[in-house]
């Protein structure tokens, strides 16, 4: 699991739990059903003996309707356990960044738009995030639908013209993470990438204080 | 036919349940509520029609113990095998849409063609 799902935010760590529970439940169900199908195919291949002629079994059918119901109720509870905290937006975020998607790159505005960076498809921009602090992202788009996707955070949210999406990110390890637009947006959609760089809080503070001169 | 009445009545009830549940959870999101309301209304319309139609219906398929012998000689109506108007109607619909976008004259001609096809189709079915 480490290879594929290794979240770099506290929100991602919560969602990782949902991932693991769902994956294990799914694999167990798959093994059970595959086992039953393969058993039928081997054990009941055509032979001389006559096939049975039963047309149903009410108790068994009801049992096998209730078991999946219990499984999905369990999975729904596990889902809500991570969904609700991930979607909650802190009333007093320690940091706030405006992100605007456009065809085909990104605009990042720090500190109430006092520091603004743009990118191009050829020169993807970098988004700096402070380690251990909760950053609120205010996401919108200036033309068509886009989607802000950081695979290392196990997270994406759509950037939609005419509305602002707010969400919190709390990075838990430093690093450089390749990120991208996930919602198809035209010719250069494939090149609409950006880089997320999680930096120590002190370096981030210097970046803000120097009005963007001191790149972390 | 009773089965169908039950089918549409239960579908309507189900639509109403989903509508109410959705309204409680997400009433600030009006698009979904409106869509579900229209859908439930359509199902209710079909259900009411089914209830009324069921009173006068005599459908051979619903007779548990009917056999082909019992309905021998019954008039099943005339089934057509060929008609040139469906394909002409479909083509006219295409030109009607193309006309709306690119050429009012084409649109007008196509609307006339659509009406002609519908009229001929109606006349054909009336004849049999």
């Amino acid at each position: 699991m480490h290879w594929l799902i290794h979240p770099a935010t506290s929100q991602g760590a919560l969602m990782q739990q949902t991932w693991i529970v769902s994956l294990v439940a799914g694999l167990l169900v798959a093994l059970y059903v595959y086992g039953a199908i393969i058993w039928c195919l081997i054990r009941y291949r055509r032979r001389e003996s006559e096939p049975a002629s039963f047309t149903g079994n009410k108790p068994l059918e009801i049992t096998y309707a209730i078991i999946p119901l219990i499984i999905v109720i369990g999975l729904f509870l596990v889902t809500m356990h991570s969904e609700l905290p991930v979607d909650r937006v802190s009333a007093h975020p320690e940091n706030r960044i405006d992100v605007t998607a456009f065809r085909w790159s990104w605009r990042f505005g720090y500190n109430g738009d006092r520091i603004v960076t743009f990118g191009t498809p050829a020169q993807p921009p970098t988004l700096y995030l402070p380690l251990g602090r909760t950053t609120e992202i205010d996401l919108t788009s200036s033309d068509v639908n886009h989607s802000f996707w950081v695979p290392a955070f196990l997270f994406k949210r759509d950037a939609i013209p005419g509305m602002t999406n707010r969400f919190d990110l709390t990075p838990t390890r430093t690093g450089t993470f390749l990120s991208r637009c996930a919602q198809f947006c035209g010719v250069d959609h494939a090149l609409m990438t950006f880089i997320v760089k999680v930096v120590p809080a002190a370096a981030y503070d210097r970046f803000i204080a120097s009005n963007g001169v001191a790149k972390p | 036919m009773k089965t169908f009445v039950g089918l549409f009545l239960s579908s309507t009830a189900f639509g109403a349940v989903i509508l109410v549940a959705y309204w409680f959870v997400a009433h600030e999101e009006t698009t979904g509520s409106v869509l579900l309301a229209i859908m439930t209304a359509a199902l209710a319309f079909a259900a009411v029609y089914a209830v009324i139609a069921e009173r006068h219906a005599h459908i051979d398929g619903d007779g548990q113990d009917l056999t082909p012998e019992d309905v021998k000689g019954e008039d099943l109506g005339v089934y057509t095998t060929h008609s040139p108007y469906p394909i002409l109607l479909a083509l006219s619909c295409l030109f009607m849409l193309l006309g709306v976008l690119y050429s009012p004259i084409l649109a007008f001609a196509a609307v006339v063609a659509v009406l002609l096809c519908l009229w001929r189709l109606g006349a054909e079915s009336a004849r049999v």
């Binding site: 594929l4 059918e61 290392a152 196990l154 996930a182 | 989903i18 549940a21 082909p68 295409l94 849409l97």
Partner: protein
């Protein structure tokens, strides 16, 4: 030729439906191979972006609107009257109109390729406001919208026809609780179409109005709303998924029961679960919008999870039908079993993406590409081939070669899984869907290479099917009325059936008229 163009006989219409879907299936397959060729290596520049965008748009459009959904309707056109013992559909002329609207819709959609600027390139979902910005594609995108508009009307008309036919034209003794499961699944499909497709018609018209008549439905600068597009589109779009699956559930049920030599297990359960799936599918549309931040995720997540329950019931019934049976692994049965294997994986990833926190990672990524190809490709497409092998002798009076058929199945099954399993991992490694190129990071180069290799094997399997048709047509071994020992009414008449279907109708006093009255078996050449 003219007799086919003007035909209103449901069998001829069904055959023309099926042949049209096969033509589009081959075209969509070639487009898929072009996609795999472009993505075989990272940073590839074989196909430029603007062309690639047209290719994946047309691949998705063709498979959804012109192959998987209409094949089910076309087969229903052929089979429903036969299975309920009717001489034709209730409205033969309306039926022909549906067919030609559908054929013309497919042609006009693909004619976009011949226009200056090329075909539509917005993905099959055609999201506004992107689809309202003419970006190289003007006329081609209009043609796409006209095609979808005609196809949606055609589908609605067919649904009306199927519902009315099953209401009114059942043979004496063929009560509702005796019709084959395939007919029940088609009733559920038809009612679902009537509920969902008007939304597609409306949203397509709205985009046309925005593009040409100065509307601003989806333009936020003028008070429009892009989220409105997604609501209207997915209110059709998710039920559409089940329109593309329910008929295939019916096919698989008939094939399994016939080759296991056993009555369908839990007939009533299968009927109820079909309607439960259809009903619930109306309440899940916004699970395609979990990442928009504009919908109630818990509501849509809960209803999406619930769909797993009736689907699970169906699996129990299929396994129950095989249990203690006498299973003959013919080609049709192999494809039905292949359906069970692939569709189960699609269902399990489906339950995973019903969870918003998981969807936040995999939405619009190759994980989702894996998911829906397992349901619609490994699921519906395999069931489509089961249907083709099963009913081909009935429709054309010629049996397909079983030997070649088994080669076809194994190439397709192995090729399909080699192609699509790696895509789940690509998605988790951060590969978005609808990208014409990707950087050489993580294992993307390896995974895409494997997928492209699998695509070639899958294509060989599909090609073997068409070789099989040629070989079998050439050999032309005539078949009896009931070559597989089937139990439903279509096997009581000759292969192919005469005009108005039945010379003599067997008595119907159970769900299996041919098994319970064996004297009628094997009559006719």
């Amino acid at each position: 030729m003219i007799t086919w163009l003007t035909a209103t006989d449901h069998k001829k219409i069904g055959i023309m439906y099926i042949i049209t879907t096969m033509v589009f299936f081959v075209i969509a397959g070639i487009l898929a191979l072009m996609i795999r060729a472009q993505l075989a290596t990272p940073d590839n520049d074989l196909i430029p972006s603007h062309l690639y965008n047209q290719i994946f748009t047309l691949h998705g459009t063709a498979m959804i609107f012109f192959v998987i959904a209409p094949f089910g309707l076309g087969l229903a056109n052929y089979l429903v009257p036969l299975q309920i013992g009717a001489p034709d559909m209730a409205f033969p002329r309306l039926n022909a109109t549906s067919l030609w609207l559908f054929v013309i819709a497919g042609i006009i959609t693909f004619l976009g390729l011949a226009t200056y600027g090329g075909a539509a390139a917005y993905g099959w979902t055609n999201y506004a406001p992107l689809s309202e910005i003419s970006e190289g594609t003007g006329v081609g995108a209009d043609f796409w919208l006209i095609g979808i508009l005609l196809a949606s009307v055609s589908t609605i008309l067919t649904a009306i026809n199927i519902t009315t036919t099953t209401f009114l034209l059942r043979a004496p003794g063929m009560t509702m609780w005796r019709v084959p499961i395939f007919v029940w699944e088609m009733i559920a499909t038809a009612i679902l179409i009537l509920m969902a497709f008007p939304s597609l018609t409306a949203v397509t018209l709205m985009v046309l109005i925005d593009r040409h008549l100065g509307g601003h439905f989806f333009d936020p600068a003028f008070g429009g709303n892009p989220i409105l597009y997604q609501h209207l589109f997915w209110f059709f779009g998710h039920p559409e998924v089940y329109v593309m699956v329910l008929p295939y559930f019916g096919i698989v049920t008939e094939v399994i029961a016939t080759f296991a030599r056993k009555p369908v297990f839990g007939y009533v359960g299968l009927v109820i679960s079909a309607f439960a799936i259809a009903g619930l599918s109306i309440g899940v549309w916004a699970h395609h919008m979990f990442t928009t931040g504009a919908v109630s995720n818990p509501f849509f997540s809960a209803v999406s999870f619930l769909i797993a329950v009736p689907t699970g019931v169906k699996f129990v019934n299929w396994i129950g039908t095989m249990w203690k049976g006498s299973i003959e692994l013919s080609t049709a049965m192999l494809f039905a079993v292949g359906f069970l294997f692939n569709f189960l994986l699609g269902g399990i990833t489906g339950v995973m993406v019903a969870s918003p926190p998981i969807d936040y990672q995999v939405h619009d990524s190759y994980f989702v590409v894996n998911h829906f190809h397992y349901t619609l490709g490994g699921g519906s497409m395999f069931a489509m081939f089961a249907a083709l092998f099963f009913w081909f002798p009935k429709i054309f009076g010629v049996k397909l070669s079983e030997r070649l058929g088994k080669w076809c199945f194994w190439f397709m099954f192995v090729g399909f899984n080699i192609t699509f399993i790696p895509m789940a991992f690509m998605g988790l490694e951060g590969m978005a869907r609808r990208v014409y190129t990707y950087p050489n990071v993580e294992h993307l180069a390896l995974l895409n290479g494997i997928a492209s290799f699998g695509g070639v094997i899958l294509a060989i399997g599909v090609a073997l099917f068409f070789v099989n048709i040629l070989v079998s047509a050439f050999a032309h071994v005539p078949v009896p009325a009931n070559p597989w020992g089937g139990y439903s009414l279509e096997w009581a008449t000759s292969s192919p059936p005469p005009e108005f279907n039945f010379e003599t109708m067997p008595p119907i006093n159970s769900r299996r008229p041919l098994w319970d009255a064996p004297s009628t078996q094997g009559s006719g050449p």
